[in-house]
Every structure is written in structure tokens, then in C-alpha cells.
């Protein structure tokens, strides 16, 4: 029943054998020792497991590993270049946009996804003009787009500060 799959995780190719019931999150955490994505609910309700899966932010507790053979996964640990942190991670440090740190890797992956989606012109539920080519990432847009990532320490105001700082600078 078990399946052999290969994943590229933070730039490294990894081969593993998984139970068909194994989620991509458990494949990373329990099989590969990649614990940057966190398990907060296992039901797609909290956002702690967010990674960039084939370039898009994804809740990998809802993804089965066997269905993602060959996928490219980037966790918060793989966002930076070498020892240099990703600008979003730096912005989180600057804004103290975290406390316990458990939701933080997911928040940061989600924020990177938000910036990409906005740059691609994707509207959100609060975008005034759905047909507009450009999205202005104001605080309102950022808060809406980051609402799939819960933070029980209540760092939201600082998270919006952090994402704003990058969104208004040059990230791409």
C-alpha cells in the first residue's frame, strides 16, 4: 500500500516511503524531520502549516503526500538565501510580529504568498475594484488576506505592520 515519492524541500531533493494516509505536513514533520511548518489544528483551520507548494501558499495538513509526488515545497526555513533571512522574515523581526513563534513560519509563508498574489493582481474579498489590474496592499487588504493564519498571542497588528513594510518596499 505504501508509496515511494520524491519531494524537493527547501531546495533539497528528498525521497521517502509514505502511508497513503500520510499528509504532506506529517511527511515533512515525522518522516523528514522538517519541522518548520507547524501543526496547530490538522484540519486546515489555523494556517500554522502554511508553506509554498509549487509556488503558492498552501495548507499542507489538508494535502496527502502521495498526491504530491515531485512537488516543490518551500518552508519558512527555505525562504532566505544562505544565512540571509527573507525580507518578510526580517520585517517580522523588526515589527516584533510574533510572540510564541508557533504560527510564525506559517504567517511568513502566507505573507510571501500574499505579496505574490497581490503583485499578480489577484483581488480579495475587500478589493474595491475586482477588475483592477493593480492591487494596493493597504492595511485593510493585508489583514483580510492574512486572516487564514490564526495567532493566539494576538500579534496581528504587528503582522500587518510587517507585511506593510515589505509590501511598500521592494520585495520581488
Amino acid at each position: 500500500m505504501n508509496a515511494d515519492i520524491t519531494l524537493t524541500v527547501d531546495g533539497r531533493e528528498r525521497s521517502l516511503t509514505v502511508d497513503p494516509r500520510t499528509t504532506l505536513l506529517d511527511a515533512l514533520r515525522e518522516h523528514l524531520g522538517v519541522t518548520s511548518p507547524k501543526k496547530g489544528c490538522d484540519h486546515g483551520q489555523c494556517g500554522s502549516c502554511t508553506v509554498l507548494l509549487d509556488g503558492r501558499r498552501t495548507l499542507i495538513c489538508l494535502a496527502l503526500a502521495v498526491a504530491h509526488d515531485g512537488a516543490v515545497v518551500v518552508t519558512a526555513d527555505g525562504l532566505g538565501r544562505g544565512d540571509e533571512l527573507h525580507p518578510v522574515a526580517e520585517a517580522f523581526l523588526d515589527a516584533d510580529a510574533y510572540q510564541c513563534g508557533y504560527c510564525t513560519p506559517g504567517q511568513i509563508c502566507s505573507a510571501v504568498g500574499v505579496l505574490d498574489e497581490a503583485a499578480d493582481g489577484w483581488p480579495s474579498a475587500v478589493t474595491p475594484d475586482l477588475a483592477a489590474d493593480e492591487v494596493v496592499l493597504d492595511r485593510h487588504e493585508i489583514a483580510e488576506r492574512m486572516s487564514g493564519n490564526l495567532c493566539r498571542c494576538g500579534a496581528y497588528a504587528h503582522i500587518v505592520d510587517a507585511v506593510s513594510a515589505v509590501g511598500n518596499g521592494a520585495v520581488r
Binding site: 502511508d19 494516509r21 500520510t22 506529517d26 514533520r29 515525522e30 524531520g33 519541522t35 518548520s36 511548518p37 507547524k38 501543526k39 496547530g40 489544528c41 490538522d42 484540519h43 483551520q45 489555523c46 500554522s48 518552508t75 519558512a76 526555513d77 525562504l79 532566505g80 533571512l85 522574515a89 517580522f92 523581526l93 516584533d96 510574533y98 510572540q99 510564541c100 513563534g101 508557533y102 504560527c103 510564525t104 513560519p105 511568513i108 493585508i142 489583514a143 483580510e144 492574512m146 486572516s147 487564514g148 493564519n149 490564526l150 495567532c151 493566539r152 498571542c153 494576538g154 500579534a155 496581528y156 497588528a157 504587528h158 503582522i159 500587518v160
Partner: protein, 705 residues
């Protein structure tokens, strides 16, 4: 001595980034379930599906036959524990069921999927007994506990409040309700436990998610009849706790029982989010009857705060809900009481600001009602009732700047432009209004912490540095960072040369992160160790020199009432047609002693306010009285504030240095942010709509019809 010699502040008071920041933003900081251990087994428990009764049979054959299942633990075969005086720790000890969601069995398997599958195959049958699971303020079973958490008097009576209320020209008499709520830290409670037998005993190594490794060590040693030195607990990073990881819970006992079944093999047990609704504590719902009597100028003559709340029949927890009303406002005649309704429900416990959080909701909404009744501005009403000394004990306050917080808030928030008329501002279809509430939280201090300071001077021209070791907990508070700042100032060295180790029983024992007392207790021990170091080794120590310190006893509490204070100002908008409620603006002004690290302090205060907003608008654990089950037991149905629920939040503090609480001049800040926040939202909602809401969470139905 009641005045502490204060440590001169250099690093203290200066903003500083979290030491562990880079590890947290990359996700490489390791939490309890994330340690790489060889050949781990995974545990999945089976929970009781009846709230009261007994297990009649447990069928484990199918589970045991499953490939990969290593063991099934049940109430029928679990080892007898050495000490089960704490009934919460009596895991699998007998067939009695005290609440739905109690452990009755557990499956150990070589993968998490197999463990869960095996647990599904275990069949349990029960004899059911009649039960009660809904708090009933008219219950015939109500009783007065011996004391309320942690050791306050159950009731307090001063003067003749009945006469005062009867004679008062202005009165408020109302009942307030707060919901059952669950802490829900983002990291579910988790442990990896290894049991290694040796001779007639053995030792536990426990990677745990806890607010206090020393307490977990003590509890595990007691429950299993071991020497505390044979229990190692490691917990450098904790994904939030908010009280739920303060007292050890049954999950650690279960993981330890399982580990003893498979000596030498690590057992991993991370709770599911659903399991957290029955096994790791919650805040009791409350019903609070508040009566205020006042003269027409708003001065209180009498104050009564009577509380009914629930406890579990198997283990008492008495939330100190009315203690808020004992210390905030002056009134010559006063009474507070607590009564418990014993139910067949999970054991309630600490949740951020137990007592003050729900109690301030009732007290501060009642004050708003009194302001309306007297035709007074609610800020002015509070200032008029400012006491000269602690209203119950008569002791002077070590420092108290509530009035300054209110006045600063008035200025910052633009309060003076406020038209007091309720339901007078309809803007684009939204009724808007503003509200205020005070906040107070005691500056607690407890003995029981030690610290070690050690000096390192590398021989070959390397940088000298200092180790500071204390088994404190950094649950997101920034404890590791602030203890480094405290040590640097106490030693008079550069803060960048100090390295702090917390969260490990290998270093000196410390109190739990609770009661907003961590920095006071641990910081005082660190200061003591640093001072002893300088006394012993002077200004020119040698490599490897070290000194130990403790938290010295102080009699300050005998002479002073010590609390932090604050004021919340909130703007609310309620949609005229749908009743949707939004909070576009919050301001909190706090007087909490010296703010040791403005960066992390701001986050903690803001986080407390955000959790208060969440309490005001969202949080409600729905207990089904027919099944004893919290039916909304996940994060899709138990709502907490999300990013889009939070508008503009400002945090400010008053310059205050308290010389009596600790040698840093600080007070605790972990809990005061939540105190009063929900009341300010309810008061603003009244100003916006004219509808007085006396229960939280405040939902749309309150404003419709």
C-alpha cells in the same frame, strides 16, 4: 525591608529584539513534539463518550491485531500510580468516568496513522449515570469553596452593604454573564517521553510544552513515586500557553504511563485540537450579580459582586472572579462572594487573568451603567471613585496610576470631543460609539526560583561572556530576552555578552510562568545571583567563576497593596441592519512599573487586548447539556479573533517605577492587557446603539429586533 534597592537601568527599559527571533521566523526553534528521537512510538488516546458513569468493557483485540500497533493501554491494565491525590492525574486508574472526554485507553503504534487507526478500532462500553453539565445559578448544589484561586478568601464583607444599597439615591442592579472559553494556544500540548529503567527505578526524559519545567518535574515525580532528580524536563520553546500549560494536565501522565510500557523507546503524544477542549483546562462560564449604590454625584456608597461559576465534580477549581471588585473602587460598604456549581464536566483551570478577566467585565460594565444613571462621564465617574488606599485591606498602594492612565487615554483617544448620547451617530449605515473601562491586575511575587550566573573568559583573546541559567519559561513573553537585560544591568556588563538558558530542569528550579509573576520572580533571582557574584568575585572574575541566587523573601505585601493598572478606550461600529459589530480602534494605557523591554512589552499588552477583543466578540465554548460535550471543539467553530477582526490598536504606558515589587522596578504585564478590554467593547457598543449588552461574546442578535 520593604523598599527594594533598585538596579540601575541601562539595558532595562531599552527596546531589544527577541534573542530567539531568527529561529522562530525560520521555524527552526524546536517545540516539544519536534525533537529528533530514535524509533519514536506515537500515542493516540480513546476518550470517554459519556460524561458520568463507568467503563463496563474495553475491546482491544482488533486494535492489537493491527500491524504496527505495539500496545494498548486501558483502565483495566494500566499500572497503579503512586499518588493520585490530584484526581486530574488519576489517569486510567479505575473505570469511573467524571467527564466526557476523559482518557479511557490509548494506542501506541509505530506511526501516527496506525495509532489513530488503532484507536478507532477500540470499542468501549459504559454504564451511564445521571449527570449535569450546564451551569445553573439556581442549582441546589451550589457551595462556597474554602478559598478561591490561588488562596483568596471566598467572600469578603465590609460595613453594612444592605443598608447602603437601600438608602442609595442611585443604584445599578444587573446580572452579567461570561462564556466558557478555552485557552487554545496555537501549539497543542505535546510531549515526547522516554523511560529508562535502572535498578529498581529509572528515569524520565520529557520534552514537554509547559509553562514550568520545575513544576512538571515535581508533579511527575509525585505521581510516579520517583525522586524529582530522576525526571528531566526540557522545554526551551513553548507555542503559547495562556495558563493552559501552567498546571500540568493528564496528557503528561498518559504519555509517561505509555513510555513505561515500552522502556527505552520514545513516546510522542501531541494532542489534537479537539482533545484540548476536554483535557487541558478552560475558563469557567460565570454568572455575576453586581449591585452598586451611589450618591447623585457618582460616589459609590455600596458595592456587591456575587459570582456563580462552575467547577468539575472530580477536582475543584474556584476562579477568583470577584476579587477585581475588592481593589479597584472606593466604597465604604461592600461585599463579594463566590459560589460553585459542581458539574460532570472537564476540570476548569487558569486562563489568562483568571478572576480579573471575567470579573472586570461585570464590574466595568456596571460602572458604565452607573455613569449613565448619574449623567456623568464614565471617565470622571471612575476618577471620583479612586480610593486613597486599598479599599479592603486599607494598605497603601505601592504605586497606583489609574487616574493618570485614564487622563492620558482621554487625551490620546480624543475622548473630550465625545457626545455622551447613546445611539446618536449613524455613519454610512453603522452606529458608532466609544467606551472606556479600567483595568487592574495584582503584582504577584512568589519564592521558589533559583538562578546561576557564570563568567567565561576565553584564554586566547576571545570575547568574554556570561551564562545566566534559570528554569524559567519563555512562552512567547520574551522572558529569555528580558532576563538577559536584567542580568546585564545587575552585573553592569554589556547585554550582548549575556546568554540565558531557560526551560530545562538541568538548570536551577524556577516558578511557573503564571500570574504575571515570571519576570518578578525570575528577575529577582537573577539579580540576587549577579549581586552575589560581584560580592564573591568583585569586578575582575576568573574564567568559570559562578554564583547562585534565589528570590529572597520580602514583607512588602504586608505593607502595601501592589497592582498594575490600566485604561481601555474603544471605538465600536454596529451595522444598523445586520447587527454586525466591528472594533476599528482600541487604545490601552497602562501603569505597570518599569517597562523592561518596550519591544516585547508592547507585544504582550497588545496581545492581551487582542484576546480581550476576541473574548468580547467571538469566544464561546458551547456545552451541550444533553451530552456534556463542547460541540464546537475546533478552530473552525470555536472562533478566536483573526487578523481582519483587529483594527487599529495603540498601546501606551505611564512612566512608573515601583520600588516595592522587585529590584527592577517592574510589575507583571502578561495579563493586564486582557482585563477590562471586553467591558470597554460592551460599553462602546452601548454608546453606539443604546443597547446594553451584559454578556460576552456580544453577537449580532443583541442588536436586532
Amino acid at each position: 525591608m520593604t523598599t527594594t534597592d533598585l538596579v540601575p537601568a541601562r539595558a532595562m527599559g531599552t527596546p531589544r529584539r527577541r534573542t530567539e527571533g531568527p529561529a522562530k521566523v525560520t521555524g527552526t526553534a524546536r517545540y516539544a513534539a519536534e525533537y529528533a528521537v530514535a524509533r519514536p512510538l506515537h500515542l493516540h488516546p480513546i476518550l470517554a463518550t459519556v460524561p458520568r458513569g463507568r467503563v463496563t468493557a474495553i475491546h482491544t483485540t482488533a486494535a492489537e491485531a493491527l500491524d504496527g500497533v505495539v500496545a494498548v493501554l486501558t483502565t483495566r491494565d494500566a499500572e497503579a500510580l503512586a499518588d493520585t491525590a490530584d484526581r486530574e492525574f488519576a489517569v486510567l486508574q479505575d473505570d469511573e468516568i467524571g467527564f466526557r472526554g476523559q482518557y479511557v485507553a490509548a494506542v501506541l503504534a509505530d506511526t501516527s496513522e496506525t495509532a489513530r487507526h488503532g484507536a478507532d478500532l477500540v470499542r468501549v462500553t459504559y454504564d451511564e449515570d445521571p449527570f449535569r453539565a450546564r451551569l445553573d445559578p439556581d442549582s441546589g448544589e451550589l457551595y462556597a469553596p474554602d478559598s478561591v484561586n490561588p488562596a483568596f478568601a471566598t467572600d469578603s464583607v465590609i460595613g453594612d452593604v444592605s443598608s447602603a444599597l437601600r438608602d442609595a439615591p442611585v443604584t445599578v442592579d444587573a446580572t452579567y454573564r461570561t462564556a466558557m472559553t478555552h485557552n487554545n494556544p496555537m501549539e497543542p500540548h505535546a510531549s515526547i517521553v522516554v523511560w529508562e529503567p535502572a535498578g529498581t527505578g529509572g528515569r524520565f526524559t520529557i520534552f514537554d510544552s509547559t509553562q514550568g519545567v520545575s513544576a512538571t518535574r515535581r508533579n511527575v515525580a509525585t505521581v510516579f513515586g520517583l525522586d524529582p532528580g530522576d525526571v528531566d524536563v526540557i522545554s526551551p520553546h513553548v507555542g503559547g500557553g495562556f495558563g493552559s500549560k501552567g498546571n500540568m494536565h493528564a496528557n503528561v501522565v498518559l504519555a509517561c504511563l505509555a513510555a513505561r510500557r515500552v522502556p527505552g523507546r520514545p513516546v510522542t503524544y501531541a494532542l489534537t485540537r479537539q482533545q484540548m477542549f476536554s483535557l487541558v483546562g478552560y475558563r469557567t462560564p460565570t454568572v455575576q450579580h453586581v449591585r452598586l449604590g451611589a450618591s447623585p454625584d457618582g460616589r459609590l456608597t455600596g458595592l456587591v459582586h456575587d459570582v456563580v461559576e462552575q467547577t468539575s465534580r472530580i477536582k475543584e477549581f474556584a476562579e477568583q472572579t470577584a476579587t477585581y471588585s475588592r481593589s479597584v473602587y472606593a466604597a465604604p460598604h461592600r461585599r463579594t462572594t463566590h459560589r460553585l456549581d459542581p458539574l460532570d464536566v472537564p476540570v476548569p483551570s487558569w486562563m489568562r487573568a483568571p478572576g480579573e478577566c471575567p470579573g472586570s467585565f461585570a464590574a466595568e460594565v456596571a460602572m458604565d451603567e452607573l455613569a449613565t444613571a448619574c449623567g456623568l462621564d464614565p471617565v470622571e465617574l471612575r476618577i471620583r471613585n479612586e480610593p486613597d488606599a486599598d479599599p479592603e485591606s486599607g494598605k497603601p498602594f505601592s504605586s497606583r496610576h489609574l487616574v493618570e492612565c485614564l487622563r492620558r487615554g482621554v487625551e490620546r483617544f480624543g475622548w473630550s470631543r465625545r457626545d455622551p448620547t447613546p445611539r446618536a451617530r449613524l455613519v454610512d449605515g453603522w452606529w458608532t460609539g466609544t467606551g472606556v473601562a479600567a483595568a487592574a491586575y495584582p503584582a504577584n511575587r512568589a519564592p521558589g526560583s533559583g538562578a546561576t550566573v557564570r563568567f567565561h573568559a576565553p584564554a586566547a583573546g576571545g570575547e568574554e561572556h556570561w551564562d545566566v541559567e534559570i528554569a524559567a519559561a519563555d512562552i512567547g513573553t520574551g522572558a529569555r530576552t528580558v532576563l538577559g537585560q536584567i542580568a546585564a544591568d545587575a552585573l553592569d556588563v554589556d547585554v550582548d555578552t549575556v546568554e540565558v538558558t531557560v526551560g530545562d530542569t538541568a538548570v536551577p528550579a524556577a516558578t511557573v510562568a503564571g500570574g504575571s509573576s515570571g519576570t518578578t520572580n525570575w528577575g529577582t533571582a537573577v539579580v540576587d545571583a549577579a549581586q552575589r557574584f560581584r560580592e564573591k568575585f568583585g569586578a575582575d572574575p576568573s574564567d568559570g567563576d559562578e554564583a547562585d541566587g534565589t528570590t529572597p523573601e520580602t514583607d512588602a505585601a504586608e505593607h502595601y497593596a501592589m497592582s498594575a493598572f490600566g485604561a481601555h478606550f474603544v471605538e465600536v461600529a454596529v451595522h444598523a441592519d445586520t447587527g454586525e459589530i466591528r472594533v476599528p480602534r482600541m487604545l490601552g494605557v497602562f501603569a505597570a512599573g518599569r517597562i523592561l523591554n518596550p519591544t516585547t512589552a508592547r507585544s504582550q499588552l497588545l496581545g492581551g487586548m487582542t484576546m480581550g477583543l476576541s473574548m468580547a466578540l467571538h469566544e464561546d465554548s458551547v456545552m451541550d447539556p444533553r451530552s456534556g460535550h463542547v460541540v464546537n471543539h475546533d478552530l473552525a467553530n470555536y472562533h478566536i479573533a483573526s487578523c481582519a477582526d483587529v483594527g487599529e490598536i495603540d498601546v501606551e504606558w505611564i512612566d512608573e517605577v515601583d520600588p516595592h515589587v522587585n529590584p527592577m522596578g517592574s510589575k507583571g504585564i502578561g495579563e493586564i492587557g486582557i482585563v477590562g478590554a471586553a467591558a470597554a467593547v460592551a460599553n462602546a457598543a452601548h454608546h453606539a446603539t443604546g443597547v446594553r449588552v451584559r454578556s460576552v461574546p456580544i453577537t449580532v442578535d443583541a442588536f436586532l429586533g
